[in-house]
């Protein structure tokens, strides 16, 4: 009989595990736990130097033609997930937990460390404004934010975004900006009063990327390999998991797919199957912590109650991708020594949308250049010329809106065991973006409405809200401490419990909340002796 079992090894599961170990409890983590299973070329140095000397078919496209996923299916899976290196992250998802989608393109992970293996590592503190509708306040999370900042190594700066992003305590220096991002930022600095009058604020992102060597991990070397291999400078929860396993502070059992539980007076019996062979297997514990992600945690709960009727709410941030062209950078050589993920953040207190929007301004240097080939409207050879001469003067902004900007999706379990998710198409009114285009023109960057790409619902991969926490909880809801209604020893530690999803990336907050939930459970266990 284990004291605590955690299901899932993603960001929330590992944050909960970390807190349990701090409280002297050794949890058992149950996980499918897929790891890298294909031979990826071992690469060093800089991506563009490497490309000049090596055939990069295996690295960039892959023996299984992973990078052709979108071309073969006509889909728009985030480019990072189509890299051969990232194949293991979504491996087996459709077999283990098939989903019938209607207007919702779900991306799931059963990898060790979960979807965070492919995250952009944007790690932001929710403040009280972000936590509107939650039964907790920022002060309940601040202690955990501080601890996570130490554990992860988050870079950022004291700048105009600090009022939104919170304390700068323990932050590492910010990442070095690319030429394009630096130009944008300098232009903002020169006229910031005017921008702020319109509700626009720009600054450095808070990212889990080391800018200094730390705890055996080396700092960002601006090699552009972000999409193509695991970089020690980019934090993933898997790093903490490996550390806890090595220190013997957690028991980790992989190859286990949890389906549900039975709760009795003696404790909880977890019903699972082995991934190899599909054999039933059971585990027993006093307290069960579900952290399998908003979709799969909901599935485990619905399956436990054999509920094929209920349609749970599933929240996601609607998102837009907006490419920008910087005329002043036109003709410049490609900036081959840059950080390939988020360079700058933009926050927009929008009167048009009546909410706060968050933009992440990214460089285009990490993906294959060919990814952009069909984004240009000219003839084939001319598009190649644009890739070479125009693309180096472009940036892309991913703009997130709060989940409340559109109708939520609905998730239910079917009798055949498959999930069914019905989503609304991303129908953000592009005309409302006029202010953003005007602002960027003032910054020296140009874009046009017809270039804006609406990220299909489900592919922003910010899922939440299936089992929301409430001051007074009801069926398929949790209490303030993550305890599932009607199940006195079952707790939810992942983003399922978020009743709202502001535009700000939820990664750090879901980890802090998981630690808060774990702390409450640990206190109960320890006080019971």
């Amino acid at each position: 009989m284990h004291q605590v079992v955690i299901v899932g090894s993603g960001a929330s599961g590992i944050a909960a595990a970390l807190e349990f170990t701090e409280s002297g409890i050794k949890p058992l983590i149950l996980d499918v736990g897929y790891t890298q299973h294909i031979d990826i070329p071992q690469v060093e140095g800089n991506l563009y130097d490497y490309r000049k000397q090596h055939d990069t078919f295996d690295l960039l496209i892959g023996k299984n033609l992973q990078n052709y996923t979108n071309l073969f299916t006509g889909g728009s899976v985030p480019v990072k997930l189509t890299s051969p290196y990232a194949e293991y992250i979504t491996h087996g998802a459709q077999t283990l937990s098939p989903i019938d989608n209607e207007g919702f393109y779900a991306i799931q992970s059963f990898a060790k460390g979960g979807l965070a293996n492919a995250w952009g590592a944007g790690l932001y503190r929710y403040n009280d404004q972000d936590l509107e509708g939650f039964p907790i306040r920022a002060k309940d999370l601040n202690y955990y934010f501080d601890r996570l900042t130490q554990e992860i190594g988050i870079s950022g700066d004291e700048d105009d975004l600090s009022p939104f992003f919170g304390s700068t305590k323990s932050l590492l220096p910010p990442i070095k900006l690319s030429n394009n991002a630096n130009r944008l930022y300098q232009n903002y600095q020169g006229r910031k009063g005017k921008f702020q009058k319109h509700g626009f604020f720009m600054g450095f992102p808070r990212v889990g990327v080391l800018t200094e060597d730390r705890n055996g991990r080396s700092a960002c070397d601006y090699s552009n390999f972000e999409f193509w291999k695991e970089l020690p400078c980019i934090y993933t929860p898997k790093m903490t998991l490996e550390k806890l396993i090595t220190a013997g502070k957690v028991d980790y059992k992989k190859g286990i797919f949890v389906e549900g539980w039975n709760e009795t007076t003696e404790g909880i019996r977890i019903n699972a199957v082995t991934v190899e062979g599909n054999h039933p297997i059971h585990f027993h514990c006093k307290r069960l912590v579900l952290a399998a992600g908003a979709i799969n945690t909901a599935k485990i709960v619905l399956n436990t109650f054999h509920d094929y009727q209920t349609h749970l709410v599933l929240l996601e941030n609607p998102a837009l991708q907006i490419p920008f062209f910087l005329p002043a950078s036109f003709g410049r050589r490609l900036d081959t020594n840059s950080f390939g993920l988020v360079q700058l953040n933009l926050l927009w207190e929008s009167d048009t949308f009546n909410c706060l929007l968050q933009g992440s301004v990214m460089e285009t240097t990490s993906p294959m250049r060919g990814v952009f080939y069909d984004k240009f409207p000219l003839a084939a050879r001319a598009n190649l010329e644009l890739i070479k001469y125009l693309l180096p003067s472009m940036l892309i902004m991913q703009l997130y809106l709060p989940a409340s900007s559109q109708s939520p999706s609905r998730l239910s379990l079917q009798k055949n065991g498959r999930l069914y998710i019905q989503g609304e198409p991303n129908n953000i009114d592009i005309r409302k973006m006029r202010d953003v285009f005007q602002l960027f023109r003032m910054l020296g960057a140009w874009s046009f409405p017809y270039l804006v790409f609406r990220v299909p619902t489900g592919q922003a991969i910010h899922y939440a809200g299936t089992l929301p926490m409430r001051e007074v909880s009801g069926r398929y809801e949790c209490d303030v401490n993550g305890k599932l209604f009607g199940s006195p020893n079952v707790y939810i530690a992942d983003s399922s419990t978020f009743p709202n999803l502001p535009a700000k990336n939820m990664g750090l907050t879901l980890m802090a909340n998981a630690m808060r939930v774990a702390k409450q459970i640990a206190s109960q266990i320890n006080s019971a002796g």
Binding site: I61, Y68, L71, L334, A379, A380, I387
Partner: protein
């Protein structure tokens, strides 16, 4: 190797890079091409390869088809070939500008727009010609 695919690979590669495709690109293109054609009926596939065989200027045909939303398979094959070509060290200079030169970039981008206009008109003429030939058969 299927001669049609080989011919197609050569034509697409020449359209993009003005030179013959290396053997490694052709052999890799075969598997990719088959995957791209998976949902094509035999009749459509036969018709597609008839067009590929007949038309020499696939770049013109492709831009006209893309704009008029015809034969999306051809555009996908061009895109697939761009990916393949990018993985070869010898092609890096097609994708990466390593010298800052505003005048050259402006000249090339302006030229690319003119080039596209010319290719589009030619492509429309090719589509009309192919349609005419099929009607007369």
């Amino acid at each position: 190797m299927d001669n049609f695919i080989k011919l197609e690979a050569q034509k697409i590669y020449r359209s993009l890079f003005r030179q013959d495709a290396p053997e490694i690109v052709i052999s890799r293109f075969q598997g990719i091409s088959e995957r791209l054609e998976e949902n094509l009926s035999l009749v459509d596939k036969d018709r597609y390869y008839q067009i590929i065989r007949k038309v020499n200027d696939l770049e013109a045909l492709e831009i006209a088809c893309r704009i008029t939303k015809k034969m999306p398979l051809l555009s996908r094959k061009f895109h697939a070939m761009v990916y393949l070509a990018e993985t070869l060290p010898v092609n890096q200079h097609y994708f990466v500008n390593d010298r800052t030169n505003f005048i050259k970039a402006a000249r090339i981008v302006f030229g690319s727009i003119i080039w596209t206009g010319y290719k589009f008109i030619k492509g429309i003429w090719l589509i009309t010609k192919i349609k005419g030939e099929w009607k007369s058969q």
